[in-house]
Amino acid sequence: MGRYLLRRLVESAVTLVLATMVVFAGVRALPGDPARTLAGEEADPAAIAAIREKYGLDQPLPVQYYRYVENLLHGDMGRSLRTGLPVTETIAAALPVTLQLAVFSLVVAVLIGVGAGVVAAVRRRGPAEWGANAVALLGLSVPNFWLGLMMILVFAIAFPVLPASGFVSVFEDPVESFRHLLMPALVLGTGLAAVVMRQTRSAMLEALSADYVRTARAKGLSQAQVVLGHALRNSLIVVTTIVGLQLGALISGAVVTEQIFVLPGFGKLTIDAVFTRDYPMIQGVVLVTAAGYIVINLLVDLLYSVIDPRIRVGGGDL
């Protein structure tokens, strides 16, 4: 376990360092001279040179990269070109919105996905399986932003029962928060629910044909006890992993969902940064996303190896 833990930690650290390099290189690849951009259109050469010196842009690239990492380690990601506020603070303010949305979506996805997956596995070759398959396929085929628009059309315009936009924190007003986040969470959760359903179904099918389930049946346990107590419990290992892996997709999906429902979260911050060419902000959001992704992947891997000892022995490779 110790060796596996160490190996995964080192791997994640390497990936994180590579990510900072990509972000660093990416910003340097942007068209135009950043010093000129910062100085403004009509700046004289002396002002540009001053800015270049101030930000260390006259230094060789490795030195610049070293400084960039040094600042990062101090939590300094520069200031937004648009608002002048520190990037770190702005991101910290937007994250809670996205996290609340993500958690709510995850709940939706697990409830729908695991429920439908279990039903589809237990009642094979019937309308239930057919229906669950249809839902899963639709989940993969319907773009979630379009689903969001259609929901606004129905639940906010045709029958105005839910607000079409805006955010209320769950810590301020749980009821209003629920009303505001319900549609976004359904939109973001359904795509994930389709994936969870497929995985749950195949894991359940495998579990139901396993020897320990036959033993459980032979002991005279009821169908519900066998399905929920034995098969589902073991299937949840796989489901946990899949949910963990899909958190990244959830981050991508949140960008679109926040855009549709005008939620002031991380995703909206990302898009606004791109359209205003706010390079420090772009750099910050990209790096935070990548870091979040890497940490989640690491946690999922570790969780998985705790649950399933075979992973440690096998070294976790294909």
Partner: protein, 302 residues
């Protein structure tokens, strides 16, 4: 184990070593099996009809897609304008046909791009143990970047356009292709006919090109039938966010995006392009499911 289940290589014993020459016959058999499955056959027909309509959009469309008519603005669907008209009086049916063409072009080209980059890298990673850690780590790093972040970065560098969307989707798809090609190579490398070719003194290039690649094609085709619909949806998302195709070029995502401000007055403007996306991706996914079942050598015929 950071691999989504559908990209895992078959864990069980490999199929009986099929010499490369058997592949065409096997594929003909697969096609027959798909056509017997009503869902995947239906998917194939819908995909074919939509592709044809998109390719012949100039001929099939009842109106030129950029033709404005200020006497017939924002009309709901009618026999004359099947999908209604927009705020400039443009026929939405014609625009959906052209939009489908743009969206499918981006989707297919991006997957071709992923294949061109991903297949060689995957073959190398699977065949040479020295290269494997490097390429696999690269793949992980790319997967560490959520696709949308990559697209955002590219749009910031290149500016939003149809080309940017294609490149972003293509690059985003590379890691998956690498994984499929790599795991197929790992599997095939151990088979007898490959060992025989190596013993026979075949060069590495010959082994990879003549023995491994042709036998990995099935898995790659199946992956492509999953990747293309995902890329079509990806295009619509990027264009919706303003990171991909830009108006006035009508892609399906652009159409939905520009329909948003007119939501209350012309909801049909957002409905039909979305239906087109759903229909196309659903049909392609159904066909892909059938194809996977038909090409899977482990599948026992019932």
């Amino acid at each position: 184990m950071t691999v989504p289940a559908q990209t895992l290589p078959p864990p069980e014993a490999p199929p009986p070593a099929a010499p490369p020459a058997a592949a065409p016959a096997q594929r003909r058999r697969a096609l027959r099996r798909i056509l017997r499955n009503p869902l995947s056959a239906g998917g194939l027909v819908v995909v074919a009809v939509m592709l044809l309509a998109a390719a012949l959009a100039d001929v099939v469309a009842p109106f030129p897609y950029e033709l404005t008519n200020f006497d017939t603005t924002l009309q709901p669907p009618s026999p004359e304008h099947l999908f209604g008209t927009d705020e400039l009086g443009r026929d939405q049916f014609s625009r959906v046909l052209h939009g489908l063409r743009v969206s499918v072009a981006v989707g297919v080209l991006s997957v071709v791009l992923s294949l061109l980059v991903g297949v060689p890298l995957g073959l190398l990673a699977g065949f040479y143990r020295v290269l494997d850690p490097v390429i696999s780590r690269l793949t992980d790093t790319m997967l560490a970047f959520p696709f949308l972040v990559l697209a955002v970065g590219l749009a910031a560098i290149l500016g939003p356009s149809q080309t940017t969307a294609t490149i972003a989707l293509g690059v985003g798809g590379v890691p998956l292709i690498i994984r499929v090609a790599r795991s197929e190579t790992l599997r095939l490398r151990e088979l007898d006919f490959v060992a025989a070719a190596v013993a026979d003194g075949a060069s590495d290039v010959a082994v990879l090109g003549r023995h491994i690649l042709p036998n990995a094609v099935n898995a790659l085709i199946v992956q492509a039938t999953v990747s293309v619909p995902a890329a079509v949806i990806g295009e619509s998302v990027l264009s919706f966010l303003g990171l991909g195709v830009r108006p006035p070029t009508p892609s399906l995502g652009v159409m939905i995006s520009s329909a948003q401000p007119l939501f209350r007055d012309g909801p049909w403007l957002a409905v039909f392009p979305g239906v087109a996306i759903v229909l196309f991706t659903l049909a392609l996914n159904l066909f892909g499911d059938g194809l996977r079942d038909a090409l899977d050598p482990r599948e026992v015929r019932r």
